[in-house]
Amino acid sequence: MSMGAFIEVEGLSLSIGGSRILEDISFSLEKGRFLGIIGPNGAGKSSLLKCIGRLYKRFSGSVRLDGVSLASMPERMLARRIAWVHQTGSDSLPFTVREFALMSRYPWQGAFGGITRKDIEITEAALSVARVEHIADRRLGSLSGGERQKALIAAALAQGTDVLFLDEPTSFLDYRHQVETIELITRVNRERGITVLLVTHDINLALYGADDLLAIKRGEVCWKGPSRDILNGDLLFDIFETEFQSFAHQGQDVPYVVPKGLVR
């Protein structure tokens, strides 16, 4: 595959209960890049991310990280490379933000080993990067959706990986927290060189942060390329099956896209 490919996915297919979810997906990504995986609801975006991160195991095809196949990697080793921010329900997790972030140091601890000073230092640093120190001693269940999402990102950072997977991190968030969350993810990507794979149905979120985009439709790769190029031609229509209109002020880097049907 291409030179410097950091993540390589080849011929990935997934069926669950006889129905095809993903069909022959291949792509590669360089280290330190930010990939947005976009597509309509039910396209298989989240499933794809779960296959790549091996939360789903019964798929065919191969996934390589840094040239090493993930299929045979022990769980802890994998968790030292890839951290997750899951799509969260309303589960009330019984831990505080700090406790949960410390728990994410698990892959670095031995079977009988407890928490080390280094674990605490890394966790505190992650809390400060995500700017959640002020809520560090509150229970996750007591936080608002936005605060909670930042706390979960802090925990993923505490895990100390060089790859970060996020599944719809801004759905259900209000505007302010959408802004703060994508700003945080972008900052982590740019400043720490963490490779980011982000699944979203929100094209603007992807345009804001991602270097590259991978569009999935009905379980297949529909388009891939540098994120700006997705505004060319009828690509957006092909992916989402509705017309889009883009708005950009002079001097603005990235336009804002809205479905035409929502503009009156």
Binding site: I16, G17, K50, G53, L55, E75, R76, M77, L78, A79, R80, I82, A83, W84, H86, D91, L93, P94, F95, E99, F100, M103, S104, Y106, P107, Q109, A111, F112, Q159
Partner: protein, 326 residues
């Protein structure tokens, strides 16, 4: 505050353990420790009371730890081996063993009754596990719990069939045994219960961090590097083994595994290493206290402690259901 709680629990448990042998239908004066008592009192203390208290403590602690582990595994505060049919499975194994009447021991150490109870417990766990994996998609903890309740009824009814078809003496023996009690003479039962406790405590303590993550969700645990499938197998196997041993010795004693971890969570928080220590200490003390009540309330007769724990436990269970909903 929370550190204090563990210390307080330790002192509480120790106090119960030390005081319990002297309390009963006939109270024993402390002086008997130093030989100021007649022969029959000494026999009562060392052959009956002390072994019984030890057995009760070990059993209570084991049941509490198994309950704590199951509650984390199923992410459901209503899960415990007796709720999911594991204890009923063990009881069925034991009843079948009594019915067949072929007595054996393994290596002269492990009684055939233990083996049969383990086989029953394992069968029940395996059935729950298989039901979970048969459905292609993951089974939700709620449906797993329902499967367990159904299993519990199934094994219960099989148990009844065997009892019904048995002779008079066997039926009485089975029924009396299935009420769950701590009657014991000498130390052999207590000595058999202690290794089971040791096994389950080590597993609970060592996998504490995994259980913490598992409580947050299977995907979160897996993404942090927990081998969820392996952990689940380890837990199913060890809990069946330990419950099998326990049921063989005391019969099924209900609700301790449900009740104790809840109270402990309130006292020491949700971290499973601390919770394991707390469940050990409080579970042991709790069953010993229940047994004292069972011995004293009806004196000079005594009631099987399993009846008492089920009675307290089911009321607690109802309260818990109402509270969880509300």
């Amino acid at each position: 505050m929370r550190r204090f709680s563990l210390l307080a629990l330790f002192l509480f448990s120790l106090a119960v353990l030390l005081a319990a042998p002297f309390i009963g239908a006939q109270n024993i004066p402390l002086g008997s420790l130093f030989g100021f008592a007649d022969f029959s009192t000494m026999r009562l203390l060392w052959d009956l009371r002390v072994p019984r208290v030890l057995l009760g403590w070990a059993t209570g602690a084991t049941l509490a730890l198994c309950g704590m582990i199951f509650q984390a595994l199923f992410r459901n505060s209503l899960a415990s081996p007796d709720m999911l049919g594991v204890s009923t499975g063990a009881a069925l194994g034991a009843v079948v063993y009594i019915r067949i009447g072929y007595v054996f021991t393994v290596f002269g150490l492990i009684s055939g009754l233990s083996c049969a109870a383990f086989a029953g417990a394992f069968l029940a766990t395996f059935a729950i596990y298989a039901a979970g994996s048969l459905r292609r998609s993951d089974m939700s903890p709620a449906s797993l719990l329902l499967a367990g309740v159904a299993m519990s009824f199934l094994f219960g009814s099989l148990n009844m069939i065997i009892q019904y078809s048995s002779g008079y003496v066997d039926t009485f023996r089975m029924m009396r045994w299935s009420m769950g009690g701590l009657q014991t003479v000498g130390f052999s039962s207590a000595l058999a219960a202690l290794p089971a406790l040791a096994i389950i405590f080590v597993i609970a303590y060592v996998s504490g961090p995994e259980l913490d993550l598992l409580v947050c969700g299977e995907e979160i645990a897996a993404s942090r590097g927990v081998s969820v499938e392996r952990l689940r197998r380890l837990i199913f196997l060890s809990v069946s083994l330990v419950i099998g041993i326990n049921v063989a010795i005391c019969g099924p004693i209900g609700f301790v595994g449900l009740l104790v971890p809840h109270i402990c969570r309130r006292l020491v928080g949700s971290s499973h290493r601390r919770l394991a220590v707390a469940s050990l200490l409080f579970g042991g003390a709790f069953l010993v206290l229940c047994d004292i009540a069972a011995r004293v309330l009806w004196a000079p007769a005594e009631m099987p402690v399993g009846i008492l724990t089920s009675c307290i436990g089911s009321i607690f269970f109802l309260w818990l259901l109402l509270k969880v909903k509300g």
